[in-house]
């Protein structure tokens, strides 16, 4: 019942986002092409675009040097869907306490922590192709090569990803890149906040990102059977919940408006990953 709903939710999102995805890059490339052709007459857009790369790099360097500057607060993410988001926040909260947590507790009682870590590694390894592509798209060739090496090593020597041979023995760290960050790298803002049912906090850009990354996930690439995918995804969610039992409770239990606190934490967390 739950896994079924999970995919229902996911499919709906995938479809909705897919439409946006189709519209968004096409219009974007056309616009870029046009300005390129008339580069002489319309310098505004192209110069802005050209400045983006180096400017971003300068900003980063500046941040590094001036660590004394207080941590800046980004403007709050727009939230035109707040009533819906709050509804689904409440829904996910109940889902966590009534379904996910009890299941994860039982799971946690059966499988020792070492097994849970191995399972997490397995699912994490499946996201390595997406990370490799996104590192490359952001111009980080070394990071990309490292992800390829990680994926190759961990899928073989690391016993199809259950061990982290590349990390433990070779010291190859994961880059943690995704398509949402790639879009941000090329100047896309968050858009607005979306609290998806089942999937939780996101924004317009990162939802597109999720969809993009979904296409290079081995489950899709290897055309894994739908029901098997649902089952595996369920294990993934239960396993990661088992590993972080207590964190969510503590956070929302010491927040006054948990919705606002989670929304802000999501924004800060993502901005941190993007700036890195």
């Amino acid at each position: 019942m739950i896994p079924h709903n999970v995919t229902m939710g996911k499919n709906f999102i995938l479809q909705a986002v897919f439409i946006l995805f189709l519209l968004f890059p096409v219009s974007h490339t056309q616009a870029a092409g046009e300005t390129d052709l008339s580069a002489g007459s319309e310098p505004v857009l192209s110069s802005g675009k050209a400045d983006e790369g180096p400017n971003g790099a300068e900003d980063d360097a500046g941040q590094e040097e001036k660590w004394e500057d207080e941590w800046e607060e980004a403007d709050a993410l727009a939230d035109p869907l707040e009533p819906f988001n709050r509804f689904f926040f409440h829904f996910n909260d109940k889902l966590y306490f009534w379904v996910l947590k009890p299941v994860a507790r039982v799971y946690s009682g059966i499988f020792p922590e070492e097994v849970q870590i191995a399972v997490r590694n397995f699912f994490d390894n499946l996201e390595a192709p997406a990370r490799a592509i996104n590192s490359l798209l952001q111009g980080n060739v070394r990071g990309s090569a490292s992800e390829v090496a990680r994926f190759t090593l961990n899928s073989t020597v690391g016993i199809i990803g259950f061990g982290d041979f590349a990390g433990d023995v070779m010291g190859l760290r994961s880059s943690n890149e995704d398509f949402g960050q790639t879009l941000a790298h090329y100047g896309a803002g968050g858009g607005f906040y979306i609290n998806w049912p089942f999937l939780g906090p996101s924004n317009l850009r990162d939802s597109l990102g999720m969809l993009g990354d979904g296409y290079v996930h081995p489950f899709i690439l290897l055309d894994v059977d739908r029901d098997v995918t649902i089952g595996l995804r369920t294990i993934e969610v239960v396993n990661s919940t088992a590993l972080t039992l207590g964190d969510y409770e503590l956070f929302v239990g010491t927040a006054l408006d948990p919705y606002a606190a989670v929304k802000d934490a999501y924004q800060q967390y993502r901005n941190g990953l993007i700036q890195k």
Binding site: E73, G246, G253, A260, Y269
Partner: protein
């Protein structure tokens, strides 16, 4: 080292090493107060020791334990400064009694969040990576290795009479103060400061009975 020898620079290297030993030996550095990272590490270790002490977990030691935890967290955090900045502009509109009341509530809230995390502490490795100091301000990068994952925690500290106290921290890039500012702001906008105080008291009551 091999390169230095090749380039015939061994002499200055030896000289520097010699001077360093001389300086340390003569106690010039020994007189300076502990740096922010050293202080933080000591205070956190002390708090962890208290939280993990089986002896203090006896029922009759309850109030003693609470007192020790309060003292230890006061050695780490500048709660008043944190409370002030988490309220933003609203702070200036408050009377000093209201400010004191808010600091008290805020302190308990932070203690709960921080303590809740530390209570679950089970000999995870804490790495104190780097400290940056400029005058009276410092930034310390640390990491906790939990279940094979590295969780980054950055502390911001201010010095006051030789004592370094934390006034904000970031866990995986999420600043505690910024997060509470948004959180409090969301309540204040609808229910003003009075509503915030009421919510905080209720929240603390709820978790006190839960414990």
């Amino acid at each position: 080292m091999a390169q230095y020898i090749k380039q015939n620079k061994l002499v200055p290297v030896v000289l520097v090493m010699f001077l360093t030993i001389l300086l340390f030996g003569s106690g010039i550095f020994a007189a300076t107060a502990a740096g922010p990272m050293e202080q933080l590490q000591k205070s956190v270790d002390e708090l962890l020791r208290i939280l993990q002490s089986q002896e203090l977990k006896e029922p009759d030691k309850k109030s003693e334990r609470k007192q020790l935890i309060d003292n230890a967290t006061n050695e780490i955090f500048d709660f008043r400064e944190m409370a002030r900045s988490s309220l933003g502009q609203t702070w200036d509109t408050l009377t000093s009694e209201e400010q004191d009341q808010f600091v008290g509530l805020f302190t308990r809230l932070i203690e709960q969040r921080y303590k809740g995390k530390l209570d679950a502490y089970d000999n995870q490795k804490i790495i104190y990576k780097k400290e940056l100091i400029n005058g009276k301000k410092a930034l310390i990068n640390t990491a906790v290795i939990d279940k094979d994952l590295e969780i980054l925690i950055d502390y911001r500290l201010k010095e006051n009479q030789g004592k370094w106290l934390v006034y904000d921290l970031k866990i995986e890039n999420v600043s505690l103060i910024s997060n509470y500012r948004r959180d409090f702001d969301s309540i204040i906008r609808k229910e003003q400061f009075a509503g915030l105080v009421e919510k905080m008291s209720k929240q603390l009551e709820k978790s006190d009975t839960a414990n």
